[in-house]
């Protein structure tokens, strides 16, 4: 046997173990085979342990130690069994002693370390506990997932709600992000709009005029009219600022602007509400109130003038009676005074009629007479401006139309004044005139004011009846006259039409004839 040479230092004067069992094969071979089997398995087990060890490099020092010790212990124990089997035919007892001794030492060490390690091992959760923990973890996970799902759904819902609110809001909401210059001073804003609806209502078709990386470049007027200064103030102080009303020339509308600082976004939030209708209503009612108070004042003035008028009248009569032999020249002077006095009486009578409550009612009115009286008021001033006054009244004095006298006079006054202003802008040298036509139709009367003044562009024809729209220079016209006149015409079931006819401008409206 090859072992013999390796283990040759053993004395071979001892008896091999086979002798102990008297070489009885039924005892010998089971022993030897068992020992060999043990050796093989005691070689395999450490191999498995080492394999395990190499794979689980995360074990702590003690664990590693135990496994190594255990592996060595089993390996050396296996070797003892091998030598035991060999020594059935040989007597390598020194080798056997050596190996057994080694095994004893290692096994004692393993036992010691093992005992020390048992408590720790006991603390490791049992498979049942592991299962329980894994189950709990799974439950927690599922629970967490569900909560996340719920939160996400909530968030989505909130976002959708916010978006629909923003979309429904009439306000425009913009975010102004400050831009600082080299010195760290606030000197510009970039503008981004959050909502579009108000923009569209104001007639802005694309977002670009509103959104801009530089307010200074796109809306320089904001730096002239104080808008930027207000924004800067809000940025500095954090106070809320309300600017109401603010007129935007770019959009030709009035806005209410609320500015506040949004610290989270490090920007300003600007809310624009379109208050144009409110302002128009305000202006209209102010204009109407003015007209009403003017009417009242006119009435009051009329009353006051009546007494002096009567005095002049009676003095004139007495004068005439006391000067029987008047020359032609003196007669003419007195006649002139008398006619002028009549003129004043007429004006005052008209003022009084207009100021009376019932004259704003719609009732059968003698249009021809009203027109005549009105023209008598304008006659003088038109003469002074060198404007010819023409009139074509094709309606007899008996015909009445349903109208409010006050409104009629106001509309005609407005139209005639506009005609006068248009003539002011006239450029050609043709003689200026204003023509008043009264035509009769089957069921209605048509009143028309014609002038050959400067006229207006066909393009703006649609807008001339809009409140606030005016072609006159700033300060000359409020833009309210025609819109008020149109309103008054509509109250009388009528509508003012305008037309350009060659070099002429025609404004006309119809009134229904009184059926009676």
């Amino acid at each position: 046997m090859p072992f013999q040479s390796i283990l040759a230092f053993d004395s071979y004067q001892f008896m091999p173990h086979g002798h102990c069992v008297l070489w009885k094969p039924e005892i010998l071979w089971p022993m030897v085979i068992s020992e060999a089997g043990i050796f093989v398995s005691y070689a395999a087990i450490p191999a498995a342990l080492i394999w395990f060890l190499r794979k689980r490099s995360d074990l702590d020092e003690n664990g590693k130690l135990i496994i190594i010790l255990f592996a060595i212990f089993i390996a050396s124990c296996g070797l003892t069994h091998l030598v035991g089997a060999i020594n059935y035919w040989n007597s390598f007892y020194f080798t056997e002693v050596f190996l057994k001794g080694l095994t004893a030492i290692v096994s004692i060490a393993t036992a010691i370390v093992g005992f020390r390690y048992v408590p720790k091992l006991l603390r490791l959760p049992s498979p049942k506990a592991y299962k329980k923990m894994a189950l709990e973890l799974k439950e927690l996970n599922t629970d967490l997932e569900k909560r996340v799902e719920e939160r996400t759904a909530e968030l989505k819902e909130n976002q959708a709600r916010l978006q629909s609110i923003l979309n429904g809001v009439n306000d425009a909401i913009s975010v102004y992000t400050p831009i600082f210059d080299q010195n760290g001073e606030l000197h510009d804003f970039s503008v981004r709009a959050l909502t579009e609806r108000a923009m569209h209502q104001a007639g802005v078709t694309s977002m670009t005029p509103f959104n801009t990386p530089s307010l200074r470049k796109t809306h320089p007027t904001a730096f002239e009219n104080g808008h930027f200064d207000r924004c800067a103030e809000v940025w500095k102080t954090g106070a809320v600022s309300i600017e109401d009303p603010y007129f935007s020339q770019v959009f030709n509308r009035y806005f209410r602007i609320v500015m506040q600082k949004c610290n989270e976004q490090n920007a300003l939030l600007i809310f624009f509400s379109d208050v144009t209708e409110r302002e128009q209503a305000k202006l209209t009612s102010m204009a109407q109130a003015k007209l009403v108070s003017l009417g009242e004042m006119a009435g009051g003035i009329g009353h006051e003038i009546n007494t002096p008028l009567q005095v002049i009248d009676s003095q004139l009569r007495q004068l005439k009676r006391s000067l029987p032999d008047l020359g032609e020249k003196e007669e003419r002077h007195i006649e002139k005074i008398e006619t002028t006095l009549s003129g004043i009486k007429l004006i005052v009578a008209n003022l009084r009629r207009l100021s009376r409550e019932d004259s704003s009612e719609i009732k059968p009115t003698n249009i021809a007479e009203t027109v005549d009286q009105l023209l008598s008021i304008f006659k003088r001033s038109l003469e002074e401006k060198n404007i010819e006054l023409k009139k074509n009244i094709e309606v007899d004095r008996e015909t009445k139309a349903l109208a409010s006298e006050v409104s009629l006079v106001q509309i005609l006054t407005n139209l005639i004044n506009n005609a006068v202003d248009a003539i002011d802008e006239k450029v050609d040298s043709e003689k200026a005139f204003i023509e008043l036509n009264l035509k009769s139709f089957e069921d209605s009367l048509e009143i028309e004011v014609v002038d050959n003044g400067g006229g207006f562009d066909d393009k703006i024809k649609e807008r001339i009846f809009d409140p606030l729209f005016t072609t006159k220079d700033v300060g000359k016209g409020t833009g309210l006259g025609l819109s008020l006149s149109q309103r008054m015409a509509m109250d009388m079931n009528s509508k003012i039409n305008c037309q350009r006819d060659g070099g002429l401008t025609r404004f006309s409206f119809k009134l229904p004839k009184d059926a009676a």
Binding site: H303, T307, L309, Q310, V311
Partner: protein
């Protein structure tokens, strides 16, 4: 015939007086500058016809007429005024003003009116 004119503006009264004196030389003209004065005159003297302004200090024309009504004063009375808006039509009717003339009055029409009144009164046997 005695006619009473009431108005707080003296020039107006002068005007009435001049017209009546010129057209009816035999008429007597009495003048008052407020309703109170006029009322005193009416209590003391016989008056056939009264023309009064409405708005006057101390006592207005309407109040004056109301007092005349209380007295059962018979003379026809008329208001000549520029300030009719201050009084309701009902009150004006109730105070016995048969008619309201607007200022500035048409003197020719006033004279004609007075002529008719005179004839009427003569017929009545006043």
């Amino acid at each position: 015939m005695t006619i009473l004119f009431v108005d707080d503006v003296v020039d107006i009264l002068e005007g009435y007086e001049a017209e009546v004196k010129y057209h009816f030389s035999d008429f007597k003209v009495l003048l008052a500058t407020n309703g109170q004065q006029a009322l005193e005159i009416c209590k003391k003297e016989h008056v056939d016809l009264i023309f009064s302004d409405a708005k006057m200090p101390v006592m207005s024309g309407v109040e004056f007429f109301e007092n005349l009504k209380k007295m059962n004063h018979e003379a026809p009375r008329y208001l000549i005024t520029g300030h009719i808006g201050d009084y309701s039509p009902e009150r004006i009717k109730a105070c016995g003003a048969s008619r309201v003339f607007d200022k500035p009055i048409n003197f020719d029409k006033l004279i004609d009116f007075m002529k008719i009144q005179t004839e009427f009164q003569i017929e009545k046997g006043a």
